[in-house]
């Protein structure tokens, strides 16, 4: 089972450029805040749907086998 096309969203992953130094006014506090933003771990759009589809497929299979066993 695959996700519908409009669910198939994924971030660009190509390493397009070397990590950049902050293009900043030289304010250390701004540079630190930008660093922290890059260190945050955010969920990826495709990750949820992949997991959800696996759960749905497993549940469907489990229901089918229960029904066929007359449970």
């Amino acid at each position: 089972m695959s996700a519908p096309r409009h669910w198939q969203v994924h971030p660009i992953t190509a390493a397009l450029r070397p990590p950049s130094e902050p293009r900043s006014t030289g304010n250390d506090d701004v540079a630190d805040q930008l660093d922290r933003v890059l260190q945050e771990v955010h969920s990826l759009p495709s990750g949820y749907f992949a997991a959800r589809i696996t759960v749905d497929a497993n549940e469907a299979e489990s229901t089918d086998s229960s029904e066929s066993a007359g449970v």
């Binding site: 409009h6 660009i12 293009r23 900043s24 945050e40």
Partner: protein
Amino acid sequence: MTAAPEFLGTIPESELAAVLSHLSAFNPTEELGEGVLLTCVDGRRTWQLASDDVCATIRGGRHPFTGAYLLPGRVVQAADRMVPLGGECAMHVADGGVTIEVRETLRAAYSLGTAVPRLRTFGGQAVVRARLPFNDLKLIASLIGDLPMDPTDFEEMAAQPPYATIRVHHGRIEMLREWAYMGASDVVLSATAETDGLGSFMVNILSFDAHLSMMQIDDSPRSEVMVSFDPGFGDFLAVEGDSFSLHFARRSRGAASYFDRLIAALESGNIDHRTDSEGIVAAMYRGIPMRLQLLDGDGPVLRCTATVLHGVPPSEDLLRELNLLNSTRVSTRVWLDNNMVVVGSDVRFDDSRSPYPTLTAVANEARHLGRMLRTAFGGTAPGA
């Protein structure tokens, strides 16, 4: 003040033919002062033509001189026609013009191009290499350029840019071009090569094919060329022989192709920002630290988010509140992700789109929602 005349050397017909073989693929616009750059590098006459996609550098005979000149493309065409097979011409520049002389009987004079001549240099980015006969590379480049036979919908065909992936791995160089999006067969062509490293690089295959198919390198059918690139961060793929080098610009498809545009937009707005190696951008906009990420899906999307609270565990009350907020927001949304409350907005990102309306919308929401939610649900503000 008149610059001193300079003798550019006695140029053989074979050198003119090599430059001419690249000229039609560039077509420098004479009216805009463009032309063929001619200068001296390491004691050798060096010609260069450049466009957004490719830069061709042709190394000619040894002759030291100091200047750098832009010759209108017609100068090379004229010299090639004036010089008999196996012959040569003398070339001088003086008073903003260039003169060609053949056997002291024929002479042609042109004005130099008015654009500022700038020699482009490339270096230090080869990580992956493949050495193979030039004719093998030329053949697979030509075949990968072929269009599906009898296409029924040219608009659909043109929906994807003419890019192909060049891959080097385990003794082969491969070219891959996708046509499945229009129902035709994807194509993979390859040739054996002496390889070093693994990796791939995307180029405009029309430029690649055009330059390789037109150029003359020498008379030996087994002359070898080196293909090299840095698959991670390289801007150019190089194809180099003894007397020439071609540098093809990296191309990307889908959302990745808008990465440079996004950075350019931030730079034009003087926005403090930095990027990581995965293409995520952190930007400080109106005092709000934001995360920008390009997503591929049905179309390229820019996701702009700002984390307004850290360390907030999920609770029924919080999730109910976020749901109510979402039902009343327009274009922006708020969600809980890894114990962070995140405000975000997704927007289709293409050539016509500026990121600033989205940045503004998210910044406005983040400023108000962060304060409001922290009062009710705790957590820490970014930077606290």
